[in-house]
């Protein structure tokens, strides 16, 4: 048999068929190799991680907490809003995770329940300073008068140093061991009916969004260039920043008898100081009066018995110091901020923790 020579256009299959078959099978296997993964996908071993419930994007919910991976644009406030339905709980997320800023990709745990009521830890416990102002002035400074500039600096200091100003109700919820509050919480109060509470304090507090409580004694509510009248008091009360509460009717010292007053007379007068003033404030402002600042900071057992009976939730002295959750509700300490304080003096009145007590 003579074999014709191979040309470019011809291929002698008679001799290369087995080879050709092998080549086809090889190609077939290679092609099948491309399609291989999809045949096995469904039988890949399960990972050992929990897969149910299914992740909601970058959050995974459990009964007691949510695990979150922070995304670009997330802030503590936005996470608090999304997962705790309250943007003002931003501090809770930051403090629990022990971080001060958020970066994309950060792993976070957001608990659903408070874990440090009363701020009690094995080292110590939280204390809340309540600071007290009386009069403010654009120019004058004395023991009871703080200048506008100093007040503004002090409010700025609170912001810069990470203090959080809380409301009176939040403070008392903390005292009742019902609520966890930011670690560096502060309460602001202002006493007496000075017009400067409206002219100077109110705008600055509004700028910073700081709630404060103004204690008024009702006999001195009258509009003048020095004192507050009902119009501006109502304006402040409705402004959402200023909480108006009671400082008695006449500002008499509740532990001193007056002019050989009999015990019965004293009893009746004290009752009047505490009831009539509250009624007047409630009538004008349509608000609950449940806190009292004692005139001159003084109190006694009888006055406290009255306050409890009349439904006051707590009362304030002017005894310097910061308040743990177990402080007597009717002997709350307050630190007076004097006109001659610099920021260092101011800071000394802002103790938020006692870590020596449990050592």
């Amino acid at each position: 048999m003579v074999r014709e020579p191979l040309t470019e256009t011809s291929f002698d299959f008679r001799c290369s068929a087995p080879l050709y078959f092998c080549w086809i099978m090889l190609t077939a296997f290679l092609m099948a190799g491309c399609a291989l993964p999809q045949l096995f996908t469904k039988t890949l071993p399960q990972t050992e991680l929990q897969t149910s419930p299914q992740p909601e994007g970058f959050a995974r919910t459990f009964p007691d907490f949510i695990a979150v991976i922070a995304q670009p644009g997330d802030t503590f406030s936005s996470l608090a809003s999304r997962y705790l339905q309250d943007p003002s709980l931003d501090w809770f997320i930051a403090e629990f995770n022990n971080i001060t800023y958020l970066s994309p990709g950060q792993e976070l745990i957001i608990p659903f329940n408070a874990n440090e009521k009363g701020g009690v830890t094995p080292e110590g416990y939280q204390t809340v300073p309540v600071i007290c102002y009386h009069r403010l002035s654009k120019t004058t400074e004395d023991k009871l008068t703080v200048t506008e500039k100093a007040f503004e600096e002090q409010m700025g200091f609170l912001k810069r140093e990470g203090y959080r100003v809380i409301t009176m109700d939040e403070f008392f919820d903390f005292l009742d061991f019902k609520r966890q509050i930011p670690k560096k919480s502060v309460v602001i109060t202002i006493d007496d009916n000075w017009r400067s509470a409206y002219d100077i304090a109110f705008p600055i507090l509004k700028t910073y969004g700081y709630p404060a409580t103004l204690f008024l004694y009702t006999d001195l509510i009258r509009s003048s260039d020095k004192t507050l009248g009902w119009e501006v008091i109502t304006e402040m009360a409705k402004g959402g920043i200023m909480n108006i509460q009671c400082h008695t009717k006449t500002h008499r010292n509740l532990v001193e008898g007056i002019d050989k007053e009999s015990f019965n007379d004293y009893f009746e007068e004290v009752k009047k100081e505490l009831t009539e003033s509250a009624m007047i404030l409630e009538k004008h402002l349509n608000t609950d009066i449940k806190y009292l600042a004692y005139p001159y900071g003084e109190t006694n057992h009888l006055v406290i018995a009255f306050l409890k009976k009349l439904g006051y939730r707590g009362a304030f002295t002017v005894e310097k110091g910061s308040n743990p959750f177990f402080i007597h509700h009717y002997r709350i300490k307050r630190s007076m901020i004097n006109g001659d304080f610099d920021l260092q003096d101011f800071e000394k009145n802002l103790t938020t923790r006692d870590n020596r007590a449990l050592q």
Partner: protein, 369 residues
């Protein structure tokens, strides 16, 4: 051959098409949450090492939430829960012991630690909030025959203050008081109408120094701070010098009538003195001391109840002795015994009557002699 070629080519083309049409390779993305278990495992271990057991417990719970079968997490959670429960209870017991010994600061510390271990420890919280602070009321349970007037007499030494009890207990003075009713009696301090005497004394001293230009001495003429004096009083108390401790405490309370520590120390000092006299079987002195103690302090009301009964019994014993001496015609001895009776019970009507008769008789006898 052609068939073979056709078949091979078709197979090849099919495989090629299938290969090309295969979906792109699915690469499984790493789970972004896979770091959580390891991270929180490490945190849990770290918190345990630092003694922050609540934080450790929560961290282990995070681990077990992600890996339900994690043996280590399960065991650590169990162990921590038990340890925390035991520690909380232990510290609470120690705190209670301190409370009963009237070491308020130490009691507070233990109750706080109990709460640090277990924030749901209701008893620890109750003591911290209500038992360690100054009581504003005395609790009193009305007995059969009690009236508001009588209670006011006993509590305030002033029956006219019955209106006070009525007001704070929502009662009508005119109505009968039910036996067993719990009443709140507000504690009363004396009303101040001027500066406390000590301050006035210090002030006039200071004025005199100022006039004499002894300005240096002015700074030392201020009374020592309360805390210093209190510390001194505590030391005297510990050394069992209760009278001296009381002297200091009384001065502190003149300036600061609501100083809780001073009030506590006063109560404790009088209590100890009462106990000392009780040990010496001097019931009268013992009762006198206990009467200065707040009625809610420790077991003072039980002790007073016991002492009153003892005193009553002693009064009867001396009365009967008096009768025996009288019948034996020893008038002087009988008078002596009846005087003792009246020391124990000033209202003992028989002793009063018999003593009067006896003294009258003795008087007559002396005149005859």
């Amino acid at each position: 051959m052609h068939g073979f070629l056709r078949y091979s080519t078709s197979l090849l083309l099919t495989l090629i098409l299938v290969g090309c049409a295969a979906p792109p390779l699915i690469r499984k993305e790493p789970d972004p949450f896979q770091v959580f278990p390891q991270k929180y495992r490490m945190l849990a271990t770290e918190w345990e090492r630092k003694g922050e057991f609540r934080k450790a417990l929560f961290s282990w719970r995070v681990v077990i939430s992600f890996i339900p079968n994690d043996m280590e997490a399960s065991e650590r959670i169990k162990a921590l829960q038990e340890q925390m429960r035991n520690e909380a209870d232990r510290h609470f017991s120690v705190g209670l012991d301190h409370f009963q010994k009237h070491s308020i600061q130490s009691a507070r510390k233990e109750f706080l630690i109990a709460l640090a271990y277990n924030p749901d420890h209701e008893q620890a919280l109750k003591y911290l909030k209500y038992q360690l602070t100054e009581p504003d009321y005395i609790s009193y349970q009305a007995n059969e025959g009690d009236t508001l007037r009588r209670i006011a007499e006993e509590a305030y030494h002033d029956p006219e203050k019955e209106f006070l009890i009525a007001y704070f207990n929502d009662l009508d003075i005119r109505n009968t008081l039910k036996s067993g009713k719990m009443l709140k009696l507000p504690m009363l301090e004396a009303l101040s109408t001027s500066r406390p005497p000590q301050s006035e004394e210090m002030l006039s001293k200071a004025r005199a120094l100022f006039k004499a230009r002894e300005y240096q001495k002015l700074s030392t003429s201020r009374p020592p701070p309360c805390e210093e004096r209190l510390s001194k009083a505590r030391k005297l108390f510990k050394a069992r010098e209760y009278q001296k401790a009381l002297a200091i405490v009384k001065r502190i309370l003149e300036c600061a009538p609501s100083n809780r520590e001073a009030i506590d120390l006063r109560n404790a000092s009088y209590y100890e003195l009462g106990t000392v006299y009780l040990g010496q079987k001097d019931c009268l002195k013992s009762l006198k001391m206990f009467k200065n103690v707040d009625i809610t302090f420790r077991d003072v009301s039980e002790r007073m109840g016991y002492l009153k009964k003892q005193i009553k019994d002693l009064a009867e014993i001396h009365y009967k002795k008096g009768v025996t001496y009288f019948l034996a015609e020893n008038l002087e001895k009988s008078a002596e015994e009846w005087e003792k009776t009246l020391q124990f019970d000033p209202e003992h009507t028989k002793a009063k009557r018999d003593l009067e008769k006896t003294l009258h008789l003795l008087d007559k006898l002396r005149k005859i002699q």
